[in-house]
């Protein structure tokens, strides 16, 4: 269970970005690869915990699942794998170990709101 420390890193990263720009974060968009070694459900529940007492409290984490793509040496192009338990080209069945997509653990965007100006 390392999802809590991952969630805290996400919050920290978003917080830094928000502080730098002087904005509020409403939504954090995350790309999560099937090979990132992170369980989405656990991450989502940890995220709420990690946000508590930070400027991110009340924000949402939106996770986009990223599937695994390998480079197939026979097709000479990127292809999906048969399954996470079978690293073969889903088209021609050639075993392939060169992963070109699926390890992502990346904050791609933030939905932000400018801080309301102080009432005069």
């Amino acid at each position: 269970m390392h999802e809590l420390s991952i969630a805290m890193s996400i919050v920290e990263l978003a917080e830094e970005e928000a502080e730098r720009r002087g904005v509020l974060v409403k939504v954090v968009y995350l790309k999560l690869g099937a090979l990132a070694g992170v369980v989405k459900e656990a991450l989502l529940s940890c995220y709420e915990m990690a946000c508590q007492g930070t400027p991110l409290q009340g924000s949402r984490l939106l996770v986009e699942d990223v599937s695994i793509l390998i480079f197939c040496p026979s097709c000479r192009t990127q292809r999906p794998v048969s399954s996470v338990q079978l690293f073969c080209c889903s088209e021609c069945g050639t075993p392939a170990s060169e992963v070109v997509q699926g390890k992502e653990l990346e904050v791609v965007a933030l939905e932000i709101q400018e801080c309301a100006p102080n009432p005069v």
Binding site: I10, V84, L86, C88, P95
Partner: protein, 227 residues
Amino acid sequence: MRPEPRLIEVRKNVLKQNDVVARTLRDRFRAAGVFVVSLVSSPGSGKTAFLEKTLTLLRKNYRVAALVGDLATENDALRLARSQAPVKQITTGSLCHLEAAMVQTALEEWDLNQLDFLFIENVGNLVCPSSYDLGEDLRLVLISVTEGEDKPLKYPTIFNSADVAVVSKVDLAAAVEFSWDTAYNNIQAVRPGMPVFRISAKTGEGLDEYLGFLAARLIELRQAAAV
């Protein structure tokens, strides 16, 4: 009135901090010419016995050392110290994996130029360590015959992130009706082309082949550095 929410692009790797430290470590290892192997496995698969044997045998011809991660005890470091190689324990507290910064701290007082091989034994866990680069040259995943042949299919992420697999406790294979072919095929299914060694730390079976593999990798590393 509050301004409307809008979207801004960020594109930042969540584990960037770890990756930056891992890169620094890798540069340091490269400069010192030390070959670094990290070990991952489930608890109880024989990582420490395997590493103790590795250190004892390699020490005859090479300068070796080890870092060992554990949640709470220093038992593993005490066991490994019997090999007479320098060993340092990293106690992680409740953390289920090692991170690059912990390795960096543990190595602060070590002169890496005095080493040929450095081994890093991760916390017993087949899930969490897969996400964290430690700057190693080789990630070795260990499974024992007593765990069953389907471990690679249950934990494909860590097997896929590894460079070499070792099947340990092969002296017990017959007793637990372990099928080598099934295990081998399962490993190849999740990581096609990965070298697999079958060893017994108890009887010494298969260790020569595995140590020969490490020695060849060290030569490769140093030749590449000399070019």
